[in-house]
Symmetry: C2
Subunit: 393 residues, 2 copies
């Protein structure tokens, strides 16, 4: 499905690119900004299809993308990626090489701002090194820097039909990863052997990278939330929890979680936990439709746990999130910490993930998660890996 052919209509990437850039420009205007200067990699990828080799782990960030309200695009690109842009991305026409340590490139940022007429403008920012921001503000005192994140958060939620095609493919890839986990589930195998095999299978199935190793947690390890695969070996009768986010297909991410039992039969307590998680997911899923609020969905999930007396053991973090060119996009669903979530209303054709979890120390736990396409009067789960019948009987 990924190959480029002329004898069959597949994903129209040019149309997707045009849609996404227009969405950003629309939101620059809606947020009353003159321009945005974005450094987050998922944001840059969304706006101009640029895939970064240098992540935020490399001394900070290495790219700045400037987009003006009249649709001009200027890209300050890490020197290591300069030739790749020049050679293979003809739609990026205005770009300059950027140094390795971002602070050493502030003069280049100034030149770009000057050239684009932004020295007295309102410019939205996302995330950047503090020293770079300070130096930009010091050397361009008349620029009014503002929060640019609403621009990208809102732009991404309205998906082009061909974006949804790409997300469907990402869902197929994480199903392949999860089937790999299930096929290796037996006593004596290490968590890392399963995780590495799932990652490998997803790469061969079309996932371009492994943003994080599939989480594979067995036994009591499954009760401490998100935890990495280790050299712990699976034991008969334990619960095994796996989260196979994320696969990446041309930037679009996949995300799935399942819980199962290792080897033999499940205990009644394990069945209770598992049924509760699946009920939370299905109840939440049944509440999804265009217009519903994120608070209602979170309450639906929590209600299913409260009903069987496990409400206090639900996972501390969020219960769901949008998904697209970032593994977690807006909206966040059901945050329990701090000021909590900003309540949003779902939009037709956006894609969310729901991932309720029960963490019951001493017994076990985990998560179950689906990617879900929001429809006018309901929804469609995009991930299809079966739930464990032994735990549901």
């Amino acid at each position: 499905m990924n190959m480029n052919v002329d004898w069959e209509q597949r994903i129209d990437w040019a149309a997707v690119r045009k849609h996404r850039l227009q969405r950003v420009v629309d939101e620059i205007k809606a947020n009353d900004l003159d321009a945005v200067a974005f450094t987050k990699l998922d944001t840059i990828r969304y706006a101009i299809s640029f895939r970064s080799v240098f992540s935020l782990w490399f001394h900070g960030n290495r790219y700045i993308l400037i987009i003006t309200r009249d649709g001009k695009v200027k890209f300050l690109v890490a020197s290591g990626c300069y030739e790749r842009v020049k050679t293979s991305m003809p739609w990026i026409t205005d770009f300059v090489a950027f140094p390795f340590v971002m602070l050493h490139g502030v003069k280049i940022v100034q030149d770009a701002f000057k050239q684009l007429g932004l020295l007295n403008a309102k410019v939205g920012l996302d995330m950047l090194p503090f020293n770079v921001f300070s130096e930009m503000q010091r050397t361009m005192p008349n620029v009014k820097f503002q929060d640019g994140t609403p621009v990208i958060d809102k732009a991404r939620r309205i998906k082009h039909p061909d974006e949804i095609k790409a997300i469907r493919l990402a869902a197929e890839i994480v199903d392949i990863g999860m089937e790999t986990v299930m096929s290796m589930n037996k006593p004596g195998v290490t968590e890392m052997e399963i995780s590495a095999a799932a990652s490998y299978a997803m790469n061969l199935a079309g996932s371009e990278e492994t943003p994080y190793m599939p989480l594979v947690c067995s036994g009591d390890h499954g009760t401490i939330g998100y935890r990495f695969p280790t050299d712990k070996r699976l034991r008969n009768g334990e619960l095994l929890y796996s989260d196979c986010g994320a696969a990446v297909l041309n930037g679009y991410q996949g995300d799935i979680a399942r819980t199962t039992v290792v080897g033999g039969k499940a205990t009644n307590e394990q069945k209770k936990i598992y049924r509760c998680m699946v009920d939370m997911l299905l109840t939440g899923q049944n509440s999804v439709r265009a217009g519903v609020s994120t608070a209602e969905i979170a309450q639906a999930c929590q209600g299913a746990a409260d009903k069987v007396g496990l409400g206090q053991y639900t996972y501390l973090g969020i219960v769901g999130h949008g998904i697209g060119t970032d593994i977690h996009e807006a909206p966040s669903i059901g945050d329990k910490v701090g000021e909590g979530e900003a309540v949003e209303h779902l939009i037709e054709n956006e894609v969310i993930c729901l991932e309720p979890g029960i963490l019951l120390p001493g017994i076990g736990g985990g998560h179950v998660e689906n990617m879900i396409l929001v429809k006018k009067n309901g929804c469609e789960p995009l991930t299809k890996t079966a739930f464990d019948d032994r735990l549901l009987e």
Copy 2:
């Protein structure tokens, strides 16, 4: 080598942790700060051995680590990781759950600053969402925020002997990845098949994650700098370039690059390019010792290319970098763009990577890269994969 045993002295992680936290505190004092508030994942890992599940791709960052000049540590941890810290990291004693969207947690940051007596302090920052910084400054107007990156850049360069042991192991893992690349080098195999196999081999060998898929670029693709593996198939006689950074062992990264020829014999032009790259690496390597400046090393590499008339085709970016808990740490060596590099002098027992490249469009190219331990009067390469004799003959 990774398992924890009591009958053999291996890496003393408690000693490493103590050393690293003390290094940060020393540099907080040396930089005349009262505290730092760090959000970069590699920095947090260095200071307190915390491994993050949420990367900077998730709406921005999700953790803030505050360290004061008298060594107090307070950790604002993403809710998803809260149970893991509580259950398995007894050395982190002061921590609170943080919400999914960082902006919704600024009140928690304020409480922490107040509790630590930092409301009138000089606090160093690294990288954070602009909206969070703005809100922190607005709600804590008497805090003097400053650039905190020199603290971590300098702290990390002085390595504990047990850190060097860990880096040696990371080097062994990337050698395994590179041997996997070499063993799969034949016509008809896709770049991605090789990359995925190398990643898988490194995971099974102890690499805890795949920060980016091993770069595998064949033929003319090798001439456009850092480029991702694709469905392109290797062809007889092409140059094949691979960069198997990064493996990760308890946070310590490995990094290696090699270039080879696919199938049959190499052309004289290919040999010339390859000999030049290897000469650049070995000449640079021979110049490494404690006290030498990064500028001298960069000049040594460039000089080897100039000597054979290929000086204009050297890779645009840097020629080398420090390595440790970040894949690229300070110092940067030989940046050609912007204000260029900040010249530094190497320190005994720090570890750097040199990775000279030649990119000759129409002919081919690539990089070769070693991890190198800096010694008092010379150096020791830590990566051992052989160069291709067919290209050197």
